[in-house]
Amino acid sequence: MSDLVRRVPVLLALLLALACPLFFNDFWLQTGLFSMAAIVAAIGLTLLVGTAGQLSLGHAAFAAVGAYTYAWAAGPSDGEAAGAGLPPLLALVLAGLVAAAAGALFSPISGRLRGIYLGLATLGLVFIARHLMLNAEDLTGGFNGRSVEPLAVPGFSFSNHDPDYLAVAGVQFSGLHRLWYVFLVIAVAAAWIGRNLRASRTGRAWANVRDSETAAAAMGVHVARSKATAFVVSSAYAGIGGALMALAYGRIAPDVFTFQLSIDFLIMIVLGGLGTITGAAIGAVFVVTLPLVLVQYSGELPFLALPGSGGVDAATLARFLYAGAIIAVLLFLRGGLMGGLRRLRRRPAPPGAGLPPVAGPATGADAAPEPVRPGVPTASESG
């Protein structure tokens, strides 16, 4: 029963998400697609950072690998850039696999370094990926990028064509509407796999390594392999996320996959609450939606200046808000937005209220319990 009650919000959210294409306009659909692509990548990163305790600043590179792999594999062999002409669904799987392979190539480093040290080492991946994107022009189209073949299965394309006209409940279903459901299925699958992975033997080994490598090794966990596996899985997620971004954009260029994207991914997972999959999703939606909405509706916000005029324009305001939000969360909200929500839900029952009072003379006035001040470590803790 309680299990069912707990799942009600999730089911409601899913139903809502299923119905969205019926009443959203193109702008909101596009925003939703970008959000869901980011959710997939953010879930992968939260597994790495939150569960395995390894920082990565290189996830934009793996997203790029996924995006370009999809574009290459699904691209027509006679197009503007090289393509293999494979079925798009296969190309999508390939995007994840190649990104995972790229992550595995990095395992000599990802298996040995820990935490922020790994984060610094992965910083280089973004710049190396950018160099490759700019220079491997046959594959990537260089600075101007290349267009992305829409997703399709035999007889049905998730674009504006084939069938040219499709309507559900009186709403014409264009490419955006059709893609919405594909993205939703992939995002839900990513969350489900992520949850199970975290609870599995592998995931618990990651958490063990995060808390203490020595203890994990004593328990029989292969520490280096465990860290490398977490990195590979996370890269695969980023690759799929990147391929979805490519599909949502319709065209990809090196400027999409900058260091800024890596930072965005990190901020998504920290904002939502490190290590939680719902938190990663909330953070992803916030970080993706905020700038797009502000730019879209900047005309209706009178205090915003025009871009380039030197005043605060919509994109600038979005960046201020997002940096301000992350600072506020880190300073005031333990456990990110999810941690805040959880505490809000528990507030009606303060800790210990539900326990039966302990009978006996020890609870008398002469043995008043020492008040425990939160946040002040005791001597035994700090040692």
Partner: protein, 296 residues
């Protein structure tokens, strides 16, 4: 041969500038355990102050204000934000500084816009020639200033009470604190030093041959991260050597780019990171780093 020597001199001077930045990373890291991603925006703030103030108050006073301003900004980031984290640990501190970087850079980008502000340094676009080697005067001055700064740092850490206190705090914070060293003060000193060094580096990174103050200069501070990592995270000497390695590698690759065009254009931008990854493959703890020993 003279071409090679010129490139080498360029690389050394550029490496010393990177060293100034990388030493800032080391000092902040050892003093407070924070990986300071806001370093680039601190650097740009210093350079921006110089560019804006040089006309009203003159270049040298502007340099003083720029260096002091950058140091103040760094201290404030530590005192107002980093020290008040809800869950203080290196990971969240790093992400906090990333957010500060975004915040400060957004504001500076808004102020600078598409312009490139010249800082009009008195050495202008001159070059100096020593035998067969010619070098932009700004780079020669940069090398001199960096060497003086490093000598002062050595004096500070080796000979003064404050510096020895900082080393003690870095070696073992709890014990140092029990011995009467104020960790809040050593932390603030570390951030201030890092900010001042970053501003110095910023001035040289925005004078000739670079065009001037533009938001992209903050990215250059990122190129000092490989120098820091190469040196081994907690070694000032390591950071300087790391800076020199990266600086010389970049200068050589850029200087001989025509022989390396099979590796693609714009190679200079990736060289620092490639060198870093290669070194980490062989020595994960960096060139001067100690292997972390774990006692159970």
């Amino acid at each position: 041969m003279s071409y090679f020597l010129t490139q080498l001199a360029n690389g050394i001077s550029y490496g010393l500038i990177l060293g100034l930045i990388a030493v800032g990373f080391v000092i902040v890291f050892t003093a407070t355990g924070v990986l300071n991603f806001a370093h680039g925006s601190v650097l740009l703030t210093g350079a921006y102050l110089v560019a804006v103030l040089k006309d009203p108050i003159g270049f040298w006073p502007a340099v003083v204000v720029g260096v002091a301003g950058a140091a103040l900004l760094a201290v404030l980031v530590n005192a107002l934000l980093v020290r008040h984290l809800a869950e203080p640990d290196p990971g969240t501190a790093a992400i906090l500084t990333l957010a500060v970087e975004v915040l400060v850079l957004t504001e500076l980008t808004r102020r600078i816009g598409n312009r490139v502000l010249s800082i009009d340094a008195p050495w202008g676009a001159d070059t100096v020639s020593i035998g067969p080697v010619s070098l932009p005067t700004s780079r020669a001055v940069a090398a001199g200033v960096a060497v003086v700064a490093f000598a002062l740092l050595w004096f500070l850490f080796a000979r003064t009470r404050a510096g020895v206190g900082m080393r003690a705090a870095a070696a073992d914070g709890d014990t140092a604190s029990l011995m009467g060293i104020r960790l809040s003060r050593t932390g603030a000193t570390g951030w201030a030093l890092a900010g001042a060094l970053a501003a110095l580096a910023g001035i040289f990174l925005t004078s000739f041959p670079a065009p001037g103050v533009a938001p992209s200069v903050a990215l250059t501070a990122l190129a000092a991260i490989p120098a820091w990592v190469l040196g081994g995270f907690d070694s000032v000497v390591g950071a300087i050597v790391g800076g020199l390695v990266i600086g010389i590698a970049v200068a050589m690759v850029v200087g001989y780019e025509s022989h390396l065009d099979f590796l693609g254009r714009g190679l200079g931008e990736v060289v620092p990171y490639v060198v870093m990854i290669l070194v980490l493959l062989i020595r994960p703890q960096g060139l001067f780093g100690r292997k972390e020993a774990v006692r159970v």
